[in-house]
């Protein structure tokens, strides 16, 4: 009865395509490497690994503290602007770590913005030695943490939001203080969500390229980039990717596992709707406000002000930048990628729905593993695969090389984005699709609707808002994305991210401010558009 139909073939092809980078990394592990790799193994490899681990630990601790504290305050307490902070605290996500790094450096560097402020307030003096320097590892930890703590905040808040009122009242009934309730009841029951958030943070941190590169911290990610670009050793680059991948897949499994447990905090268990926030008064209210404000300020206002400041005092950079082209390029990438991703996500999800096949379900699970792949690994593996395919298969048939079509082209870039963001798109559609009870499809069939008519008349109208959500989410990720775009973009094709990176790598931070500002503003707009979905509000 289960025949191989279009759904199998498409899902199989998607899974095959997405799995290519992982397979490439695996096979490249056994290839010969250059002398550079031996040198690196004997000298700096340990440093790269330890740097990666220190960075990871630092970011995990910071995001845990910031994310859980802010989520706790806005979920359980009412204080001035608490409703504003509920969504304002996710705006930090609009600032990619590398842009935060530029702002941090620009503000605290010698004769930087902090110096200018002090000078204008108190006159000329040698303030530089008193201004703290946030560079190197500390700078990287701060930049990444303020940029991505929102993962922990969003998931923890959602978990707190769904926590049953009974649990909170149980604490009161047992005579627990607020603090004791927090540590004994509230946090333990939100633990799966917190772990899921931290796993995402860990994956992002290990994948980060822009911020660590800017602060010249040698991590496994920069080593992958350098061994390929500076030493032309693609095989060793893939070997390093292999190590990093094993680690990241470990996190991926933890995240999956935690998320499964997190399902237990479902609104169906009741009580959450009636939970009223506790109103804070006096000093408590002030401190809750202050803490949220500081986090909001540091994560969003601070970097955006720095960029705005530079854009205003160096207006030439604004007029020199070809903003029109950058917007067009961004629109092109976003629209092409979104269309392809949405179409294939629908094929896969609809195929799964109508065929009820376990094999198809398994293939879909494989195909969404792409999001665990750091952009840099994906880009390098993609190039490795295209080169291998071109050198073996294409040259065997003696036809024209395909490298130009797939590397340094819009098509190549969109395909890489496809692999990277397929899980976002597929899962986004899937989570809404799962909410449509299958008996609704059956009701439509019994009312004389064909499968296509059911899809067009029932599924699409129902999923309209989640399609919008997914498109915005993909757009947000694409405009923030740096390494894939940097490596695979066509010659002279820039986005806001690559332009900012190029200026910053040339030490022209003032010039990097304008594209960074645009990037952050557009990203903020996207975040605001989807904040209701992200925060899983009452409309769910």
């Amino acid at each position: 009865m289960k025949s191989f139909n279009i759904w199998y073939i498409s899902s199989f092809l998607i899974s095959l395509f997405v799995i290519i980078p992982v397979v490439t990394v695996f096979f490249s592990y056994f290839e010969n490497t250059s002398d550079y790799s031996e040198l690196l193994k004997n000298t700096f490899l340990f440093e790269y690994i330890s740097n990666s681990l220190i960075l990871l630990l630092g970011v995990l601790i910071m995001t845990l503290i910031i994310g859980v504290t802010t989520a706790y305050l806005v979920s359980f307490y009412s204080f001035p602007f608490s409703n504003f902070f509920k969504w304002a605290l996710i705006l930090g996500f609009a600032v990619p770590p590398y842009i935060y790094a530029y702002s941090l450096t620009a503000f605290f560097e010698n004769y930087g913005t902090a110096y200018s402020i002090l000078k204008s307030l108190f006159g000329d003096a040698n303030y530089n030695k008193h201004i703290p320097k946030f560079d190197g590892m500390l700078g990287a930890i701060l930049s990444i943490s303020f940029s991505i703590y929102a993962y922990v905040y969003i998931l923890t808040r959602a978990s707190f939001y769904y926590q049953s009122n009974n649990l909170i009242e149980l604490g009161k009934n047992l005579g627990f203080s607020k603090l004791k309730s927090l540590f004994k009841i509230i946090i333990p029951s939100a633990r799966p969500a917190i772990v899921a958030g931290l796993s995402l943070v860990a994956m992002e941190t290990l994948s980060d390229f822009g911020a660590v590169d800017f602060f010249s911290i040698n991590t496994l990610t920069t080593a992958i980039y350098n061994s390929w670009l500076s030493f032309d050793d693609l095989a060793f680059s893939n070997q390093l990717s292999f190590y990093l991948l094993i680690f990241i897949f470990g996190l991926f499994v933890i995240e999956k596992f935690s998320r499964r447990s997190a399902k237990y905090h479902s609104p169906l268990q009741g009580g959450f709707k009636t939970r009223k926030k506790i109103k804070l008064y006096g000093l408590n209210s002030f401190f809750a406000f202050l803490l949220c404000f500081i986090i909001f300020f540091l994560s969003f206002i601070f970097p955006i002000s720095q960029m705005l400041y530079w854009t205003i005092i160096y207006p030439k950079n604004f007029f020199d930048l070809n903003i029109y082209d950058l917007i067009l390029n961004t629109l092109l990438l976003v629209s092409l990628s979104s269309i392809i991703l949405i179409i294939f996500s629908f094929i896969s999800n609809y195929g799964n729905r109508v065929s009820k096949s376990k094999i198809l379900n398994f293939l879909t699970t494989i195909s969404i593993s792409g999001y665990a792949l750091p952009g840099i690994i994906l880009a390098v593996a993609y190039i490795t695969f295209v080169a291998w395919f071109d050198n073996t298969i294409i040259s065997y048939f003696e036809i024209q090389s395909i490298k130009k079509i797939f590397i340094g082209s819009i098509l190549g870039l969109v395909l890489a984005y496809f692999v990277r963001f397929y899980s976002l798109s597929c899962n986004g559609i899937k989570s809404s699709y799962e909410k449509i009870n299958k008996t609704l499809d059956e009701t439509a069939y019994l009312a004389g609707y064909s499968k296509l008519k059911t899809f067009l008349n029932i599924h699409i109208p129902y999923l309209r808002s989640s399609i919008f959500f997914v498109i915005i989410l993909i757009s947000l990720e694409i405009i923030r994305e740096l390494p894939i775009t940097l490596i695979l973009r066509p010659f002279n094709f820039e986005t806001f991210a690559t332009t900012a990176y190029i200026y910053a790598s040339q030490d022209l931070l003032e010039a990097a401010a304008v594209p960074s500002l645009f990037l952050v503003l557009i990203a903020s707009l996207f975040i605001l558009l989807i904040s209701r979905y992200i925060l899983k509000e009452e409309n769910e």
Binding site: M1, A444, L446, A447, G448
Partner: protein, 353 residues
Amino acid sequence: MNKNFFEIKNVDFQVGGKTKVKNLSLHIEKKGEIICLLGPSGIGKTTILRSIAGLEKISNGSISLKSKVLSSKNDYVEPENRNIALSFQENALFPHYTIKKNIYFGADRNKGNGVRKIDPRKIIKILNIEKILNKYPHQISAGEAQRASLTRALLSNPDLLLLDEPLSNIDENFKEEIQVKLKQILKDHKITTIIVTHDSYEAFYLGDKCGIILEKKLKQFDEPYNVYHYPNSINVVNFLNRGVLVPAKVTGQYTLQNDDLGLIKGNFVNEHKVGTKVKLLLQPEDLEHDDKSNLQLDVVDKKFKGTNFIYTLKTKSNKNISVFVHSHHVHQHQINDKFGIKNPIHIKHLVCF
């Protein structure tokens, strides 16, 4: 040539590779008949409806409607081409449509084919959903959702209507009224219907015939009166939970002897040789109260059911039997009182196993 309006012939009903009901055969002779399927939860009643609707496939036997094979090992008509409506137990209302849009969904499928249309306004009024027409499914109660789902199924003018526990969420005080009206609509419009329910009274009222599904089999398929009064197996008796089986010995063409109750007279439903030991079905209405009788038993329980009391009496051999007494009966008995049973007992139908 198959002359039945609807027929299931030797079908094994499966779901997820598991056989739920084996080798089932039944038929509906004429258009407009109503049959009810009764059975415990999880026995496969819904699977039967889903298979008839074409939502599950079958691997043997055949299902045919109006002389056309809908499902068999080699034939399969897609659900959308069967003109069969199914009202799901979970209602399946489209959450993004108003109730009005939901109930008219599929209503135009038989437009212009000469089918006698049901007047929507009439159904809406009868099922009392006028006030919720502009609401969305999440804004209405489970009972209202069920009535809306039922309306949608009725308005689609199907050749065969399948109702899965159609009144399970409806308030008890409203249920009887709906049952009456539903039957009236189905009969007036000659809508052939298969109803799945766990409520035997609902099945007995609505169905022209009732099927009892137990242990993966259709144990009995007959008119409600026969199912109730002439259950064909101990399993059916136990399922209907409408009496007790007491040991007895056949003593004559019309008589039985029970050690506790003495002589019992009546007509045997099935033949039993004199001298055989049988189990006799004693239903609450079979026994008659008589204070002057010399057959006195202890009252161990008393249930007030509005129109009547049901007394549970204990026999000498510790067997509990039930007796109906009209609730306006001149006097009542209390627990531990003695309770007289008219002796000798006369039962119209003697059902023995």
